[in-house]
Each structure stands twice: as C-alpha cells, then as structure tokens.
C-alpha cells in the first residue's frame, strides 16, 4: 500500500510542471551501440534516496515510469527507447529519503545506432597499419625483394623428421591439436599440414592425421588430398590417412596414444592448440622413440613440450611455419610486416612506459581495451 501510494505521488508530482526540481540530469544517445539505448548520468547526491524512479516522456505525451533503480547509482541506461525518437527523462526519489527529491528534466536525447565503435579506435588503427604493412611488403616481395629470417630449428627439423621416417619405413603422425576449426591455431595447423602432406607425398611416407572434430577432419582430409594431387601423387592418397576420433579431450588423447603405441610412427608432429593432454602425448611419443616436433600458442603447455619434445615452436614461430616451409615470397612478406609492426609496438610500449613514469597517461589510456 505504501509502495502504491509512493508511485501515485511520483506520477502526480512527476507529471506536474509546477513541482520544484534539484540536480541536473544528463541524457545522451548511448555511444557505440546498435541503437535503442539512452544513457542517463547525474551527480552523486549527498543524501540519496532508497530508490530512484526513472521517468521518461516523448513529444506530445506525459511522463511515465519505466524502471526503478537503486538510490546509490549515478547512471542508468534505458534499453527500451526507439531509434530516431527524442526522449526526455526525469528521476524521482522513492522510499526512505526520497520524498520530494527530483532531478531536472534532461535535454532531449535521440537514440541512434552507431556506425563505428569509437572504443575500438586503437584496435582499428593497429589493424589498418598492420594490413597496410602486409600489402606493402607483399608488393615488395612481388617485385623480387628478399629478406633474411633467422633459422628456426624446429621448422628445419620437419623435413628431416619426415626423411628419417621414410628411411626407417615408418609413418608420420600429425596431431592438429584439440580445438575446433574456428580456432586460429587449428587453421594454422591445417596450413602446415598442407606443407607436410606435400613432403610425405613426395617421399611416399605414410601419414596419419587423427582429427578431434568432424569439421577439422573434413578440412584436413581436403588439405591432404589436395596436397597429394598437387605433387602429382593423387594415387598415393588414402582416405584413411585422416580419421575422425572424438571431440572429447581425454578420449582423443587415449586414442592418439594408442595409435602411437600400435603404429610406432618415427615422427610425431604435435602442432595446434593443446591443453592438459600435451604431456600425455609427448611422453608417450618419446617412449616409442619418435622424433617429436611440437608447436602451440598455448603458453601454459609450452613447458611440457620444451621438456618432452625434441623441438618446440613457441607462439609466433608456430604461426610463421607456413611461410618458412613454403618459402613463398608473399608469405615471407607478411612475416616481414609482422616483424615491423612488432618493432613499432615495442617502441610504443617504451614510449608509454616513459610517459606514464612522467605522469602522462594519454598513450596508456588510448591503448586501454574495453
């Protein structure tokens, strides 16, 4: 009954234009959204009421309450507004300490959807710069420019491992990680698989690719088939080279370990996203005497691979693998772009640290993510 009376009082006083009002209320179109939102903000009150009633009015209509919020809040987002319609707002105090407490009427605010999220401007600038550098260096590569890159032992060892398997008459086991095809590490793994499959096709080395998801199986199968056709060995491709195992993490590991122990491949290539199963795979592979090359961007699994495998590709070395293995000029150009942007980012970090030390937060705040 008390609450009902309070609401009636609010509506009567809120609808009235002769009631005395207090603090300012700001209403703006919520920035960087898909529309239908208006954000209200107001200064903190020395004695806030128990609750606020949020009142809203459109042209030609009267104020109506749309929500009740806690008295301690100093902002609110109306998510029920219609795009293109101007709205005005007012706050009315409710409950203890709320009698007669009102805000001023806000200026009209018109919600509209935004075409660009300005909160992501920093990301946009870096991505645009990166893309520009990639296109620039690809252009340079097409004009014959060559760069030298530091040798990565793990990548050089891939061909050596496949050659070793061929000499021993054994196969190569390629494990593309445990994430699905939408993970960039799995995509990178498929790219490397294409290069590896071309080598195994050339050397006639048996290849086994256990896939952890049907989508990965589908893509890997096409990649291997295409790679074999590419080097003119379509006849050597067999449909059981790539097989779907299971999507369950430890069941997959158990199956792959079983393959290692039964088939005894001479080389294990563990390239992709791995989690807790990394050491299980690496240790079992070691027991079979296989040469093991691992690569992942999952930092917490790197120690296990470093300890248990012969070679480990760490983070960006793994993503650079396709460029290194194919030696394609355009891919190497993108690698050069990657190195250049890294230098620029390092310089930005140093500059930001110096500025922060001097008390200037501009650069740090610009690069802060949401």
């Amino acid at each position: 009954m008390k609450k009902f009376a309070a609401w009636i009082l609010v509506l009567v006083l809120g609808a009235s234009s002769t009631t005395a009002f207090g603090f300012p209320l700001k209403a703006v179109d919520t920035p960087n959204d898909k529309g239908n939102n208006v954000t209200l903000s107001w200064p903190a009150q020395p004695h806030p009421p128990e609750q606020w009633a949020v009142l809203r009015v459109e042209a030609g209509k009267t104020y109506a309450a749309i929500d009740t919020i806690g008295g301690e809040l100093t902002s609110y987002t109306d998510e029920t507004a219609k795009n293109g319609v101007p709205y005005q707002y007012r706050l009315a105090g409710l409950g203890a300490g709320g009698a007669g407490v009102f805000s001023e009427d806000s200026q009209p605010a018109v919600p509209e959807p935004s075409w660009f999220d300005t909160g992501k401007l920093n990301v946009f600038i870096v991505i645009t710069l990166f893309l520009a550098l990639v296109l620039y260096y690809i252009g340079q590569a097409q004009r014959g420019k060559q760069w030298s890159f530091r040798p990565i032992a793990g990548l050089a060892a891939i061909e050596e491992a496949i050659g070793r398997s061929t000499e021993m008459g054994k196969g190569v086991l390629y494990v593309p990680g445990v994430q699905d095809i939408d993970d960039i590490q799995t995509i990178a793994s498929m790219i490397i698989l294409g290069n590896v499959a071309r080598m195994t096709a050339k050397y006639e080395t048996p290849l086994m690719v256990p896939a952890n998801s049907p989508a990965v199986y589908t893509v890997a199968d096409e990649v291997v088939k295409g790679a074999y056709a590419d080097v003119g060995r379509a006849d050597a491709y067999r449909s059981d080279m790539v097989r779907y195992i299971t999507s369950e993490q430890f069941a997959y590991v158990a199956a792959v370990n079983g393959m290692m122990l039964r088939e005894r491949p001479a080389a294990n290539l563990l390239l992709g996203a791995f989690f807790a199963e990394s050491l299980l795979l690496a240790e079992t592979g070691h027991e079979t005497g296989a040469i093991q090359i691992a690569g992942t961007a999952n930092v917490h699994q790197l120690p296990f691979f470093v300890v248990a495998c012969d070679y480990t590709l760490i983070g960006e070395e793994y993503y650079a693998a396709s460029a290194y293995l194919s030696k394609d000029a355009k891919l190497l150009g993108s690698l050069k772009a990657s190195d250049t942007i890294k230098i620029l980012l390092v310089l930005t970090i140093v500059a930001g640290c110096v500025l922060l030390t001097l008390g200037n937060h501009t650069l740090a705040e610009f690069f802060a993510t949401q």
Binding site: N32, D33, K34, G35, P113, W115, F116, D117, K120, F124, I127, F130, V134, D182, I184, A188, I191, G194, N195, A197, R198, S213, P214, A215, Y217, T218, E222, V223, K225, G226, A227, A229, D230, R243, E248, F250, A251, V253, E277, L279, L280, H286, A297, L302, F304, V307, A308, G315, E316, Y318, Y319, A320, S322, S326, L331, A337, S338, I341, K342, L345
Partner: protein
Amino acid sequence: MKREIPLLISMAAGIFVLIGFFVPHPAIRDIYDDIQGWVIIVVAFTYVLGMANLLRINTEQIQRRAKDWPYKLALVLSLIATMIVGFFFSRGSHYLDDGTGFSWIYLTFYSSMSSTMFSLLAFFIASAAFRAFRVRSVEALLLAVAALILMIGRVPIGNAIHPAIPQIADWLMEIPQNAAKRGILMGAALGVIATGFRVILGIERTYGEGGGT
C-alpha cells in the same frame, strides 16, 4: 573457378566479419550475428561426415581382422549402444539429467576414464622430470632452479621448510613469468593477425583449396 570461388567466399566472409567487429549498427551487426549462427549449422552437418568416417574405418579394420580389432569392435558397439540409449531411453532433450541412461553411461564410463587419463599426468610429469630435465646450458639451469623453487614453494611443505620459499615462488610467477608470458602472447597475437590476413587475402592458399599452389 574451383580455386577462385572458395577464395572469394572466404575473403568476403573474412572482410565482413572483420568490419562487423568495429560496426555496431544493426545493418552490419545483425548479419554478423547471423553468420555466426550459420557457422554453427555448417559445423553440425560435419558431424555426419565425421561419424561416417569413424564407422567406416573401424568396421573395415574389424572385417579384415586388423591388429587390435577387438578394441575397434568395442568402440563401434559402445558408440551404437550410447547413441541408442541417448536417443531412445534418456528423456529426449533432457538426456543429461540425473537418472537417465545416458547420464549413467557418462558418469560411470566416460567421467571415470577421463579423470583417470588426467591423473596420468602426475606419473608422466615425474618420469619426464627424471628423463628430460637435463641441465645442459645456463638457460636450462635457470629453468631447473625455478622449477625446483616453484614446486616446493607451491605446497605447504615449502612454507614449513622456510617462509621465503613461497614468497620467492610468488615473485617468480608474478614478475619474470608474467613478463615473459606477455611477450610470447603479444608475439603470438601478431602471428594470429598475420595468419588471419593471409587467409582472408587469399595468400595462404594451402588452407581452403586443398593444398594447391
């Protein structure tokens, strides 16, 4: 056209999704959300292909009595039994509820075996520590010393030996470890962006057109 069409599709989708990340307007964002829904639907269809492959390979090996064929038979029978129980004897969409046949299979078999596989890590870590943790360089020595401090510092006995051990372990994790990890993560993030650009721009043609150059 066999190569160009997939490249065009991946380029168009990639550029659209990239733009969609920056544009909240419903004209773009609604399609962006729809595309993500389409991905889920397409991936759902691949389960049919995956299942067919699984059954084909294993039944072929059972038929020709390949090595360890009884395990393959156990796999196929378990798969079929679980599917039958899940579809017909587990209250439809509430198949994971307590008391259903499917949840019994899941908890009794899969859950136990999954925990067992995970627990193997403890044994493998010990054998890997003995076999492979060789101090052959200064870096390897630093790694070994850090590992020893952290292993002792992370358990109650570390504090019982000396209170400084867990404090050093915490410092190692919070400062040098974090710094190195952030460096690796930043490099990896750039690698991710570069890989994404290569796929979107069609430069990385190994992926998507079956390995052709």
